[in-house]
């Protein structure tokens, strides 16, 4: 009996301290990974993430595989910690072979982790944006508007993919240039299309704040004389003899206002 015990003690003593430390680190890491996973899941659920992303394509796909976005994110953080733990444990245990490889992986791992998170968040946000835009446009029954929701979605996903690729160190310059061109086109078209609207709104803010004329005043604006019926952000409505003139506010501002007092 005593020989067995002493043999065991000898075996235990033979194991180097480093290995014990490594085992300890590994155990601690696994527990930490599990705890962080659970906490993350609780936090995300508490923050109302499941309700917010309800109905997005990503969430639906996740559901098909009997999981959920929150689950995937929580698990990812767990796996990340496990991977780091394994590397740390290996380093502590002084496993010498392939040292170069492991140090490379250790430096690379957080980046991959961030890239995956960015990609998932990007896809979910893109889905959500698509849903929101589609919801907004549903009141307007125009089939051509169906182009917008996917456009918004893929723009968001594209940016997320760019960030993710940048994280893992892929050359994204060409893609960034493409994105810039796309953004420029959107800005240019938007500016062209809404030039008058923006000018009107700017003038409308002044008109609403200072009220140089109000409802019921008789005015002459841009050659039209009549009684002001309504002033809003974009247009002024002037009525005379059963004709209602709807004048954009920028023309009111450009041509000036004549207040008519008897």
């Amino acid at each position: 009996m005593s020989t067995v015990t002493s043999a065991l003690a000898g075996a235990v003593a033979a194991v180097p301290d480093r290995l014990w430390l490594a085992l300890f680190v590994l155990a601690f890491g696994l527990v930490a990974a599990y705890v962080v996973g659970v906490i993350n899941r609780r936090l995300l659920t508490r923050a109302g993430i499941p309700e917010v992303i309800e109905g997005t394509a990503f969430e639906r796909t996740a559901r098909e595989f009997d999981t959920s976005t929150v689950h995937i994110l929580a698990q990812l953080s767990s796996y990340f910690i496990v991977a780091v733990t394994v590397i740390v444990a290996l380093t502590v245990a002084d496993v010498n072979y392939l040292e170069q490889f492991w140090s490379g992986v250790a430096a690379f791992l957080p980046r991959v982790f961030v890239a995956v998170i960015v990609l998932i968040v990007g896809i979910v946000v893109g889905d959500k944006a698509e849903l929101l835009v589609a919801e907004r446009l549903r009141g307007i029954k125009l089939p051509e508007l169906g182009v917008f929701p996917p456009l918004v979605k893929y723009s968001v996903v594209y940016v997320a993919a760019l960030v993710a690729l940048g994280q893992v160190g892929v050359q994204t310059l060409a893609l960034v240039v493409l994105l810039a061109a796309f953004a420029l086109a959107i800005v240019l078209f938007a500016a062209l299309a809404t030039k008058d609207l923006v000018a009107s709104a700017a003038a409308g803010v002044f008109l609403l704040l200072r009220q140089p004329y109000g409802v019921g005043d008789e005015v002459r604006v841009a050659g039209e004389r009549g009684i002001v019926q309504e002033v809003d952000l974009f247009v002024t409505r002037i009525e005379a003899d059963g004709e209602e003139h709807v004048l954009p506010n920028h023309s009111v501002f450009r041509d000036g206002i004549v207040l008519i007092r008897e």
Binding site: Q211, V215, G216, E218, I227, V228, Q229, E230, D232
Partner: protein, 273 residues
Amino acid sequence: MASLTDHLSDLVEDADAALLFSPTSSFHDRFVDDGGGDDPDVVVVAPDNDVDAEVFVELPLPFDNVKDRIRFGIEGAMDADLVAEGDAVVCIASVFDGGSDAVVRVTADETIHTGIYDLFVNSRAEPSVIRDVFEVAIELGKKGQKGKPVGALFVVGDAGKVMNKSRPLSYNPFEKSHVHVGDPIVNVMLKEFSRLDGAFVVSDSGKIVSAYRYLEPGAEGVDIPKGLGARHMAGGAITRDTNATAIVLSESDGLVRAFKAGELVLEIDPEEY
């Protein structure tokens, strides 16, 4: 049970049109899919066209009173030439909360024509604005101002002309403010200001232009029922001179009345809503 079924088939026999009040989409689809040659025209009456019905009449107020709801629906259908005078109309509506639980047969005729549909749909102001003002007036009629009955006069639409046919009694509390009826906070403001004398002027799009207005229309030729006071007379008269609609809450009998083109077009009791 046979007599019950017989009675029901008597009710729906030879109907010229079927009015579905706020149907669920599955209920509506069942109706449309079955549509054979002889079936009556199906008209959907609802606040919004949720079921994508081809023939649709908008219901601007929810109308708790089923009689009013049906009346409004039929008037709307008559106005859109979906139902002609003398047609037998079968209405399927929900009396208690929940699904469609009642079948009512009505003959469309002149007595049903109260002008309420016209008031909402053919007014200068937007229907939602008229509805919001109605809601304020009804709520004010129900609760009064701090428990006491109050009167109020809202002139909705054609604000420019109304402003020219009235003068301020005091400083306009809504000067340089940009508030619209229907906003809950604004409704509270309106109720607070209802103790002021004079009329509220509301524009076509629902902006509150002024309070404290003394209306100065020409009153000749205004035909409103005897016994109504100065507030109603002023409200009725201003609608004859302008294209506005006047919504008046009576202080003495608590009824909400609407005037258009100098005539009383609608009278409702706030307690019924």
